[in-house]
C-alpha cells in the first residue's frame, strides 16, 4: 500500500496552484492518505455490489421469474440497492473526499487517518448489516431511503458525528484568513444530515400522515442538503484545481449558499403533490422548488467561470464539467416536476427513476469519479479516463432518456384513462433500454474498481 506520488499531501490554501504541476513531487504517503485510500476503495466496493444489485433489479422487469428466492425478491432487494449506493458508496466517498479537501482548503495537514478508518468501518457496518436485515424482510415500513431500521443506522450516525468532529478540528486550526467555501458546504451538510436522520427516526411526529410529511422532508433533504451540499463543497475545491481557473465571486457563493438552505429545506412535500398532505405545505414546496433556481444558477455561474478562466485541463476536468451540467439540468428538471401539470403526467412513473439517476448518478457519482481521477496516486491516462466517461455517462443517458420517454407515455396513458395493463406493456422496450444502459454503467464501475485497486496497491 505504498505509492510514490501523492497529491493529497499537498497544501493548496487558495486552491489556485494546479495539481498537475505538483505531481512531480514525491512526498511520503502519510497515514491520513492511506486511510483516505482505503475509504475510497471500500466506497467503490459498495458501488460495485450496490449496482450489481441494481442491475439485477432492472433485469427483473424483463424476467420477473428469473428467481423465486425470497430474499432476492424485488420488494426486498430494491432498498438494498438504493441504500447501498446512497450510504455505502456516495456518502462514504463524499466523506473520504471531504477529508482531503477540507484540510487542504484550510491549509492544514492531517496526520492521522484514525478517524477516517473508524468512519469507514462504521458506515460499512451499517450498510453490510442493513442489507442483510433488509433481505430478511425487516425494514422500517417502506419510506424510501429510510428502510434501515434504527439500530442499523446508529453506526452510520456515529460515523457522521465523528466526521464532523474531525473536519471541525481542521476548520478550527485553519491557516487561511477566512473559512473556505468548501468548508461551509461540507460541514453544514454534516450538520444537516445529523438533523435529518434524527427527525426521520424519532417517533414523536410519525403518526398518521405525519409519517408522510416527515418522509417527504427526509428524502428531499437527504438528497439536497447532504449529497448535493457535500458535492458543491467539493466542486469549490476541485474545479479550480482541475482547471486552474477561479470562481466568479465570493459574494455569489454566499448567495448560493444561503438561498440553498432557505429554498431547499421547504421543498420536501413536492414528492407528494395532490396527496392528503395539507395544501399549504404543497404550495410552500412549489414556491421553494421555484426558488431553488436561484442557488442552482448562482452556483453554476460561479463554477462555470472557473472553467472559462482555465489555465490547464486536467483529465478529471471533463468529469467535473459533466457533473456540473447534470447539476443544472437535473435541478431544473426537479423544479419542473414540481409543477402541477408535469406532476400529473410524471408522478408515480419511471420518469422519477430517471430523474433520481440523472441527479444522484450524473451529479454525485460522476463528480466523485472526477475526484478519484484528480486525486489518484498515479495519473489516469487519457484512454482510461475516456473509457470510464463513455461507459458511465453514455450508460446513464441510455438508462435515463428511455425511462423519461416511457414514463411520459405511461403518464399520458393514465391521463387518458386507458386500461392499466397497457401502461405496463408499453414500458417493455424502455425497461429493456434501461437494462442495457445499466449494464454499461455497471461495467464502468468494475473498471473503476480494477483501476483504483491497482493504483492504490502500487508499491
Amino acid at each position: 500500500m505504498k505509492s510514490t506520488e501523492v497529491e493529497v499531501d499537498v497544501i493548496l490554501p487558495t486552491a489556485q496552484r494546479p495539481v498537475v504541476k505538483v505531481e512531480q513531487q514525491q512526498p511520503r504517503v502519510s497515514d491520513a492518505d492511506r486511510a483516505t485510500r482505503s475509504a475510497l476503495i471500500w466506497a467503490v466496493v459498495w458501488l460495485v455490489v450496490g449496482t450489481t444489485v441494481g442491475e439485477y433489479l432492472g433485469i427483473k422487469f424483463l424476467q420477473p421469474d428469473i428467481d423465486t428466492i425470497p430474499w432476492l425478491s424485488f420488494g426486498r432487494l430494491r432498498p438494498v440497492h438504493t441504500n447501498m449506493v446512497f450510504w455505502g458508496w456516495a456518502s462514504l466517498a463524499l466523506i473520504a473526499v471531504a477529508h482531503i479537501v477540507v484540510p487542504q482548503q484550510c491549509g492544514v495537514r492531517p496526520q492521522s487517518g484514525k478517524a477516517l478508518r473508524w468512519i469507514t468501518g462504521l458506515i460499512s457496518t451499517t450498510v453490510g448489516v442493513g442489507s442483510v436485515v433488509l433481505a430478511l424482510g425487516i425494514n422500517n415500513s417502506g419510506g424510501e431511503y429510510r428502510e434501515y431500521v434504527w439500530p442499523v443506522m446508529i453506526p452510520f450516525a456515529a460515523a457522521i458525528l465523528l466526521s464532523l468532529r474531525t473536519l471541525w478540528s481542521y476548520v478550527k486550526a485553519r491557516t487561511t484568513s477566512t473559512i473556505p467555501v468548501t468548508a461551509w458546504y461540507i460541514l453544514s451538510a454534516h450538520i444537516f444530515l445529523l438533523t435529518i436522520v434524527t427527525v426521520a427516526y424519532v417517533p414523536l411526529w410519525q403518526g398518521g400522515i405525519g409519517e408522510t410529511i416527515v418522509q417527504g422532508y427526509y428524502m428531499h433533504q437527504g438528497v439536497g442538503m447532504w449529497f448535493m451540499m457535500s458535492m458543491l463543497g467539493i466542486y469549490y475545491a476541485v474545479i479550480p484545481q482541475a482547471t486552474g481557473g477561479r470562481i466568479l465571486s465570493q459574494r455569489l457563493s454566499l448567495v448560493a449558499f444561503w438561498t440553498q438552505i432557505v429554498c431547499y429545506t421547504v421543498i420536501g412535500t413536492h414528492h407528494f403533490v395532490f396527496s392528503a398532505i395539507p395544501w399549504w405545505l404543497q404550495m410552500t414546496a412549489l414556491v421553494g422548488s421555484i426558488g431553488m433556481i436561484i442557488p442552482v444558477l448562482a452556483g453554476t455561474i460561479n463554477l462555470a467561470v472557473a472553467f472559462r478562466t482555465r489555465q490547464h485541463w486536467h483529465p478529471s476536468a471533463v468529469l467535473f464539467l459533466l457533473s456540473l451540467v447534470f447539476y443544472v439540468t437535473g435541478s431544473l428538471q426537479g423544479t419542473l416536476e414540481a409543477f402541477e401539470y408535469a406532476n400529473l403526467v410524471w408522478h408515480f412513473t419511471d420518469y422519477t427513476v430517471a430523474h433520481s439517476h440523472l441527479t444522484m448518478y450524473g451529479i454525485i457519482t460522476v463528480g466523485l469519479f472526477g475526484t478519484i481521477v484528480l486525486y489518484a496516486p498515479r495519473r489516469w491516462t487519457t484512454r482510461e479516463r475516456t473509457i470510464l466517461t463513455t461507459l458511465a455517462v453514455g450508460g446513464l443517458l441510455l438508462y435515463a432518456v428511455p425511462l423519461m420517454v416511457g414514463g411520459t407515455l405511461r403518464g399520458l396513458s393514465w391521463l387518458e384513462g386507458r386500461p392499466f395493463m397497457e401502461s405496463v406493456t408499453l414500458m417493455m422496450p424502455f425497461w429493456t433500454w434501461r437494462a442495457i444502459g445499466g449494464t454499461a454503467m455497471w461495467i464502468a464501475h468494475i473498471y473503476v474498481f480494477v483501476i483504483v485497486l491497482r493504483r492504490y496497491r502500487h508499491a
Binding site: P151, I261, V273, S275
Partner: protein, 314 residues
Amino acid sequence: MLKRQQHIVLFVSVTVLFVALTAVVALLPAHHETKRRDVMPNAQLTEEELEGQQVYIAEGCVACHTQQVRNIDMDMVWGKRGSLPLDYTNATITSALRNPATLMGTERTGPDLTDIGRRIPSEDWHYRHLYDPRSVVPQSIMPSYPWLFTSENGTLRPTQQGRALVAYLLSRKQRDLPDGIAAPETRWKTRSSTSREESATPTVSGAELYASYCASCHQPNGAGVEGAFPPLIKSPIVLGNNIDTYVSIIMKGIDANPSYAIMPPVGELNGLTAEQVVAIMNHERTSWGHSAPTVSIDDVRRALKKLQSNQRPE
C-alpha cells in the same frame, strides 16, 4: 479574536436556520397530524389484517404499489374520492423497530391498492395472483411469492402469512367519509371530462366496464382461467335469455360449480347502475364472436327490482 471564532458563528447560524425551517415545514405539521384524535369509522384492522400488513411491509410491496388516491380526476379509477389525512389515522407505531406506515408509496409500477378489496374481492384470485401473477394476468411483471404457500398432499395452501396478506388486501376498501366531512374537491378534470360534465353519469362503455370489473377474472378475451374462473365465451348464461339470472350473477355473485372459485358480488360492491350492467351484458353478448340479441335496459331494471325485493330468481 472574532476572526478565530468565525466558524462558530457561521455554523451556529446555519444550524439555527435549518432547524427553524425544519420545525415549520416538517416537525410542527407532522406533530399536529400525529396528535389527531379523530379516526376513520370502521377502519380498524383486525389482528389478522395487521399481520398481513406486516407481510406487505416485509415484502416491500410498497416499492411498486401506492395506497393513495390523489384528488385529481385521473386518479378516480382507484377510488371514489381523493384520500384525506383521516384515511391514514390508522398508521401508528406497531413495533419498537419500525416507524408507523402509511404505505402511500411513490411508484405505480403496479396499480394503486387503496380500493383493491372492492375491485377484486376474491380470495382465490389473490392467492393465484400471489402464487403466480402470470396465471391470471399473462403480461404481469409482478414478482411471484411461492414462499407464502405450502404444498399439502399435492394441493397448494397458503401459509398463515399468505392468508394474512390476502386478508389485508381484502380489507383495502376506501371507506365512506363520516358525516360532516367533505371529500376533497377533484382537480384537473382531464379524464373523459367532457362526456362526464355533459351527462353527469358514470362511464357506460361496456368494453371499459368489462375491463375494470370483470376482466381480472374472466380475462380480457373472455376465456377465463382454467380451474378458477369460467370462460364467458359461449357461456349459456351470457348468450341465453334468462336475464334475471345473468343480472343476479353480476350483482350478487355465484358459487354454483365446485370446480370453479366463488364469484363475489362484484356489482353490489361497486354499486353498478342499471345502465352499466346493461352495457356490460351487451358487450359480452356481442364480443368474442358472439352475436346474441342485445338486452334492453327495461329488462335489466326489472331484474334489479326483483333482486331488491329479495325474490331471487329461480
